[in-house]
């Protein structure tokens, strides 16, 4: 195993970087898109319901199936993987964000409305800061889920750690399988731990 690392460390490192790249690009797009969608959804309950049902449905589709459906349209490779990952993330991020924004205590909203704050002032000055923790939870979930599902994206030539794993499985190369598993799970566990710490800090600040 060490032998493999010494001989192919650049290949492993490249796969690792590719993986991080997919996760990073996915997250940036996911957060921007979810931000826009959340803003729109705050102004229509009907739209919120329709979109949440739609994203819940997409989220329930197994990733391999969704990758395969999209390949004829968007082709093999990274782009298709990122589209699928962004779609999955919308459900995780939006559900938490909308819940957090809507679950602000009714009396706080009544006081804000009564004193003459507009809807968008209430959204940005009251709801958003009070929903930060819920919003962060959604992003946290989506980061961890993206790291995991991106591994499967190797099956459509998206690269990343999944490609090391898949190669290993195909050629029954134990070293490759082990390194693939170690890197992908290690990344997920490390990032999850880091986000847990940040989330805890956020709670401390909020509960002064």
């Amino acid at each position: 195993m060490i032998d493999y690392l010494l001989r192919y460390h650049d290949k492993l490192f490249k796969a690792f970087l590719e993986h991080i790249e997919i996760v990073f690009v996915t997250l940036v797009i996911s957060i921007i898109l979810a931000g826009i969608l959340t803003y729109i959804m705050m102004y229509s309950q009907l739209l919120t319901k329709v979109m949440m049902n739609l994203f819940a449905m997409i989220y329930s589709i197994p990733s391999l199936a969704l990758f395969s459906i999209l390949v004829p349209i968007t082709g093999l490779g990274k782009d298709t993987a990122i589209i699928v990952l962004v779609l999955y993330n919308q459900y995780l991020i939006l559900r938490n964000a909308i819940d957090g924004l809507n679950n602000v205590e009714a009396s706080i909203i009544e006081a804000a409305t009564g004193m003459g704050m507009s809807k968008s002032q209430i959204l940005f000055q009251v709801r958003l800061p009070l929903a930060l923790k819920a919003i962060f939870s959604g992003i946290h979930l989506s980061v961890v889920s993206t790291i995991g599902i991106a591994t499967i994206a190797a099956s459509i030539n998206a690269g990343g750690i999944g490609s090391v794993l898949l190669d290993g499985l195909r050629t029954l190369n134990t070293a490759k399988i082990l390194w693939g598993a170690l890197l992908s799970s290690g990344l997920a566990i490390m990032v999850n731990a880091l986000l847990n710490i940040i989330e805890k800090r956020l709670t401390v600040i909020r509960n002064i």
């Binding site: 706080i108 009544e110 003459g116 000055q125």
Partner: protein
């Protein structure tokens, strides 16, 4: 004195309710009065109040604010002329006391110096030491202190009308009496119009320059505390007064 608030034949009905929450109400409140609105829950007193700052819109009739029909105003801007205090207080938990009080002044783009001076002035007015309380968060305050901040926040831009919806309803008896006394002082000093909803008879008679007694969406009597005690308008008012006559705390002692 000018008329601050006028109700002209105002009704409000909620879906599924057997009767009108507010039923063809006519009334006129002079500027500078402290009106207490008294009634049991479901009598329409909160509905009446919330129609003034347009949290509810009447189904019928017209409400005038210093002679102008409020339905023609932009509700968001209009509400900034009115202070609003509720029983649940509704302070913003993520903001300091100072930032809570500064909410509407900031929206109205007051200068920083003016806002800071006003925050200190208001904190002193409600009996809290500015140096000690300015930078606290709501969670670091007792219930009574929180409502003092709620009051200060509502008074921030010196509104002509203050609406108070059972503001002291969730506060312990000793603090409540202190707050009532301070509210009387604040009202006297401000010369503004206060409308104070309560279901506590003693509170209503202690605070009100006039008391508006409501039941089932209708005004039962609207008069000074003394006149109501001496000349109850009907059996409902009479039984209301009889129910507290035995108590020592009752006004007039």
């Amino acid at each position: 004195m000018s008329t601050a608030i006028g109700f002209k034949n105002v009704s409000k009905h909620f879906k599924g309710a057997g009767y009108n929450a507010v039923d063809h109400v006519n009334l006129s409140i002079e500027h500078g009065e402290l009106i207490t609105i008294l009634g049991s829950s479901g009598c329409g007193k909160t509905t009446l109040l919330k129609m003034i700052n347009r949290l509810y819109e009447p189904d019928e009739g017209r409400i005038e604010f210093f002679g102008e029909d409020i339905s023609s105003s932009d509700p968001v801007k209009f509400r900034r002329k009115i202070g609003y205090v509720i029983q649940q207080i509704g302070l913003f938990p993520h903001m300091t006391v100072a930032d809570n009080i500064a909410t509407v002044p900031k929206i109205l783009k007051w200068s920083k110096e003016k806002i800071n001076a006003r925050i200190d002035e208001l904190l002193e007015l409600v009996g809290l030491e500015p140096g000690e309380f300015r930078n606290r968060y709501p969670a670091q305050l007792s219930g009574g202190q929180q409502q003092r901040i709620g009051l200060a926040r509502a008074l921030a831009v010196n509104p002509d009308v203050m609406l108070l919806d059972e503001p002291f309803g969730a506060i312990d008896a000793i603090n409540r009496i202190n707050l009532q006394d301070e509210l009387l002082k604040i009202h006297a000093a401000s010369k503004k119009t206060f409308l104070f909803v309560t279901h506590d008879i003693n509170e209503a008679f202690k605070l009100g320059t006039r008391v508006l007694i409501m039941d089932q969406g209708n005004i039962q009597q609207f008069d000074t505390p003394d006149n109501i005690v001496e000349n109850p308008a009907n059996d409902f008012v009479r039984s209301l007064i009889d129910s507290v006559k035995g108590q020592e705390r009752f006004i007039g002692d």
